[in-house]
């Protein structure tokens, strides 16, 4: 006797993501090891940034000890060539670095969303012109542009954020535009237009929610890019050298010849923090990719008795 039919036989119709599949994304992420590791690292650094003034009170740049001391019980990460506490500098550095990265990444993504949606929805002239602008900003190499912008604008955190946004928005705009285009061609968008919904409404309520995972991916990418670009800018001395951030820590490390004096403890921590934060975000991004695109998931090994496996056939 046959088993009851378990498949649904309805014809394929255009579907929109329901609330259920968005929580499916959440569920997928919570069970994904990479996502959890990435999230844990991020939480650690955010806490470090928030608690720095409590854990290391006072001005971290003040000279507090003998210069260039190796890590010891008193100063866990040693001291700089000027005699500053490296651990305090690193902890406080998290505040500006994360803040700038987050803001720049967020604003870049928002601009990218606006440009991408407008481009995809309105099409024609608006699309052509926005695309040309986007492509130009994608093409012009980032670091030289950053340098030029930062050199001519007044130094400060605001400038850093501003120039990061200018060099960062185009990447997200391009990705989100192509995603928005493919959603725009779906039937439910046409249905909305026919019922007379306003353009803004359609873009925000019909197209955008279906791009949620792409938006998350681009947001993470933008933040990673902002943190890295910020570090590069500050290392060249174009950030605000008066503030304490991971990048400026490395700038001073380079300036004071930490390498040549063998003071590895001065340049290791700040760079490692940047790397770990970027890595955590990348892990999370990787995990989002895997959860939303089942094909990318790690293939579980099949039991040897299963007769069908591409890998076996391919041998």
């Amino acid at each position: 006797m046959s088993t009851p039919i378990t498949t649904a036989l309805s014809p394929i119709k255009p579907t929109r993501l329901s609330g259920r599949s968005r929580s499916g994304l959440l569920h997928g992420l919570m069970t994904n090891r990479k996502a959890m590791l990435g999230a844990a690292l991020l939480v650690f650094f955010i806490l470090l940034a928030l608690l720095a003034p409590v854990l290391f009170p006072g001005n971290p740049s003040r000279i507090t000890a003998l210069a260039s001391q190796e890590p010891s019980a008193q100063y866990w990460l040693g001291t700089t060539a000027k005699g500053q506490d490296v651990l305090a500098l690193t902890a406080h550095g998290a505040r500006i670095s994360l803040f700038v990265g987050l803001i720049a990444g967020l604003v870049s993504t928002i601009i990218g969303i606006l440009v991408g949606l407008a481009s995809a929805y309105f099409g024609r002239v608006i699309d052509e012109s926005l695309s040309v602008v986007t492509n130009i900003f994608l093409l012009i190499p980032g670091l030289p542009l950053l340098v030029i912008l930062a050199a001519f604008l007044p130094p400060g955190v605001g400038t850093v954020i501003f120039v990061l946004i200018i060099t960062g928005w185009a990447g997200s705009a391009r990705v989100l535009r192509s995603q928005a285009l493919s959603i725009r061609s779906k039937d439910f968008v046409a249905a909305s237009q026919v019922t007379g919904d306003r353009a803004g409404w359609i873009m925000l309520r019909e197209i955008l929610p279906n791009m949620a995972s792409n938006v998350m991916g681009t947001l993470l990418g933008c933040i990673i890019g902002a943190i890295g670009a910020q570090a590069g800018l500050e290392f060249l001395g174009l950030g605000d050298t008066a503030t304490v951030s991971w990048g400026t820590n490395l700038y001073w490390a380079g300036n004071e010849g930490a390498l040549l004096t063998g003071s590895w403890w001065v340049f290791l921590p700040s760079g490692l923090c940047i790397a770990l934060v970027a890595f955590a975000l990348s892990l999370f991004n990787y995990a989002v990719d895997e959860v939303t695109n089942p094909r990318l998931r790690t293939v579980k090994k099949r039991p040897a008795t299963a007769p069908l496996s591409r890998m076996e056939d391919a041998q």
Partner: protein, 315 residues
């Protein structure tokens, strides 16, 4: 089951294993094809026909797997073939014409090179000898041999399909699987292609497993036929018999879904709006070489009010 059958499928079950649930695409299906016979497999989208075709050539990919049953080709156990044996079995013994020729041809290399691949992979011919054979093949389907240098996108839809058919018969396989070979083409080209296939079959004598949802085409071409529903066979027998005296309600609905162009106007009869069969029983003999699946009690009740004629197609 007689041993002179070329293809013997016995109690085949194929499932797709997901994270949340498992879907049975092919549910305890058995049938056989004799040498030189044209066997039609009909049914709506999603009923499992293509899955069977892919299983015969062992093309199923994760997460699909054969849960039970056997497939024997000329006495050999197809499901047990691996590696080099499988590679040689493919295309030499059984070849397939896929649904969309545009998608099944490699877009960046020429038609000629793709045809040559067949010969170099199986027959170890020199390039010149292979090219000569390719030119012959193209002539077989009435395409000028200069087209060997063309890329797929440079050919018309009908030409592409003929190229794919030519490729399929390149090694003179004993069985050809046609998976919706003309669905992507317009009616005029469809007729040419079907005539082509008929001529080739008469000349080369291969068996055919003909998969389609176009009943009129199938009835015209096939010797034997089987109708599938949700992974199960609901009726099987000579094509003419199924056409004139369908025994199962579903077969009747399928036949009635194609209105005749001539004759008096009659209301279209199908299964009725939203009617689905929940239990498809095993095949019972209802005539010479003619089987039909038992209809369960609940299904019979569900079907009865609609059997007396109503609006709407099979859905």
């Amino acid at each position: 089951m007689s041993s002179d059958r070329l293809l013997e499928i016995d109690n085949l079950t194929v499932q797709y294993r997901g994270d949340v649930r498992t879907t049975t695409a092919v549910d305890h299906v058995s049938f056989g094809i004799s040498p030189g016979e044209i066997f039609g497999l009909a049914g709506e989208s999603g009923c499992g026909k293509s899955t069977i075709a892919n299983t015969i050539l062992r093309l199923l990919k994760y997460p699909a797997e054969v849960a039970s049953g056997t497939i024997r080709f000329d006495g050999r156990d197809v499901l047990a073939l691996n590696g080099e044996e499988l590679r040689q079995f493919r295309w030499r013994e059984v070849a397939m014409v896929f649904q969309s020729a545009m998608n099944s041809l490699n877009p960046v290399i020429t038609i000629g090179e793709q045809m040559r691949d067949i010969f170099t992979a199986h027959l170890d011919l020199t390039r010149r000898a292979a090219d000569a054979r390719c030119a012959e093949l193209l002539e077989l389907v009435q395409i000028d041999r200069n087209r060997l240098k063309a890329f797929p996108h440079q050919l018309s839809g009908g030409m592409r399909q003929r190229v794919v058919i030519a490729m399929a018969v390149a090694l003179r396989p004993r069985m050809l699987i046609l998976d919706e070979p003309t669905t992507a083409l317009d009616v005029v080209v469809q007729q040419e292609i079907m005539a082509e296939i008929k001529a080739l079959q008469a000349e080369l004598g291969f068996s055919v497993l003909f998969i389609t949802h176009d009943m009129s085409l199938m009835v015209e071409l096939s010797h034997q036929m089987a109708v599938m529903y949700a992974g199960r066979i609901v009726e099987q027998g000579p094509a003419a018999t199924l056409h004139r005296q369908p025994a199962h309600a579903y077969t009747r609905a399928l036949m009635n879904a194609f209105p005749p162009i001539t004759g008096p106007r009659v209301p279209l009869r199908g299964l009725g709006e939203g009617v689905r069969l929940t239990r498809v029983g095993d095949l019972q003999p209802v005539g010479h070489n003619h089987w039909s699946a038992a209809v369960s009690h609940e299904d019979r009740e569900r079907l009865t009010p609609h059997a007396a004629g109503s609006e709407g197609g099979p859905r």
